[in-house]
Symmetry: C2
Subunit: 333 residues, 2 copies
Amino acid sequence: MSDQPHDAHVDRADPRVGDLSEGRILRAILSRLGTSGAEVGPGDDAAVLRAPDGRVVATVDTLVHGPDFRLAWSTGFDLGFKAAAVNLADIAAMGARPTCLLVALAMPDETRLSFVEALADGLRAGCDSLAPGCAVEGGDLTVSDTLTIAVTALGSLDGRAPVLRSGARVGDVVAVAGELGLAGRGLALLFDRFRNAAGQPTGVTIELLADAERRDLAAQLRPEPPIALGAVAARTGATAMMDVSDGLVLDATRMAEASVVTLALDAQTDEALGGGEDHALLATFPADVTLPTGFRQIGRVVPQGAHPVLVDGEPHTGRAGWDPYRDWDSTRG
Amino acid sequence: MSDQPHDAHVDRADPRVGDLSEGRILRAILSRLGTSGAEVGPGDDAAVLRAPDGRVVATVDTLVHGPDFRLAWSTGFDLGFKAAAVNLADIAAMGARPTCLLVALAMPDETRLSFVEALADGLRAGCDSLAPGCAVEGGDLTVSDTLTIAVTALGSLDGRAPVLRSGARVGDVVAVAGELGLAGRGLALLFDRFRNAAGQPTGVTIELLADAERRDLAAQLRPEPPIALGAVAARTGATAMMDVSDGLVLDATRMAEASVVTLALDAQTDEALGGGEDHALLATFPADVTLPTGFRQIGRVVPQGAHPVLVDGEPHTGRAGWDPYRDWDSTRG
């Protein structure tokens, strides 16, 4: 992002960000974000957001090229959408309504402007479809060797108490909203079917996929967590709630330990138990509450036993959470 | 950050983060951050912070290894302190009081735990010394090829209106709090004196430096912007304010353009006019206001002329802002 365009090398139709001023890139992004709903939106040293009940819910999550995504598999739009979705899910998991995002984007000079524009479109589409009223209200642009998208999400509890991981009580119903296992299957599909002989990621030819496979891939690349159901669950009396990001068994274990109980889950497929990146909402409700539409019962809270989680009455012996990226660092396509 | 330590390769005294679980690294960080002042602090899906006047000020800024710092020159403590300071300055520049930080840390597997601990210590020390009452209340850990520290800062206006860049009025006094030019000189010192014959950064031997040089280096590596003066300026009636991060002339130009005026500055050294990363506060005050202690007058607001900024009556012809990192990418020490 120099202030001195290297005109000789510029592709005028789709320049590299390294050939553009920061102001030019910012204008391209801001023009795609829609109207600010903030008291002070992008453009000053900081944004000023409303926090109507005198509190603000805040979380940050980062997507890093290599460990978290590959450009051969994800479009800019996908990445913007996913970066929004995974952060909105953390706000929803507190029982809150997302109000705004701040986006810190660090990218190589070689990044094309069209990619940045698609990423901005994806951020906006993610907010508009998953959390209407939430928008990008600030951010930061930096140069980096590694494409990195760090998103901060803020939200409002609208006067309610936050729904913590630690509130599950013996006798509560365990319920989940959103899909389990699809995003993990989508990731396995990418690793199995869209790498070349050298193991490098290749473009995704969606025409080769069956409908169920396309759904799995979409859950991985452009997840649509049930954001609005977070506040609904809180209003309905959820006693505990969290985002299922690292696999149902692993996250249920965290909730069980924080609540000092055991979660006795019904039988599930291995994919549902161990898949990552679902961004479903795991919640517990008092037994006499009618579950809100979108939640389904998957178990019961029982007194703390030797195991924090039981599946169909037994401790889980299979894989709990799965991360194929972590030990796969030979290629960065 | 695997869940399976590779015991054979672990330096038990100072392990690599790649040999530790995420939980282990988090515990090391959290134990260094002091007591949470939040309604919900670190450990759940999101933090819940107080926003006493029903609004929250929010900003994000990123430090990336390569373009923004070099590990040969900065310690983990320096980086934590600086990452806090530059974000606190953006909150202060709105006239607000910083209330909390969220820290997204993306780091190579090779990063030593001692470095992460020093970084956490630096974040805490930066908050404690520059913005007492502000603390790290959340964050995110990720693996990356490139060490990246993205910090979100939140703040409270405590019932005041935000002080924007656009509020400077003809007749106002232009004033600054904090040092100008030191951080830029410190950076020049690093580039001039602490690189080897191949141009690669080498360790800083502070014993070789004169007192003034040590002060310049400290301003670059561990800046101490006048954070508390942001709220003081707002209470005193500042009409416009901003953080001077890209050099006085460049940032004064931004304020002049946002306010549709010209800023007529007194004569300054070239280093003060063009140095970057000062994180001083540039503000305008009504002429009849006694400047708060810590601010000094450096000019006057005059009607918009052909040039947004005048220095000693003339347009500035020298360097406006300087970034030697940007075009220096051959080494990453």
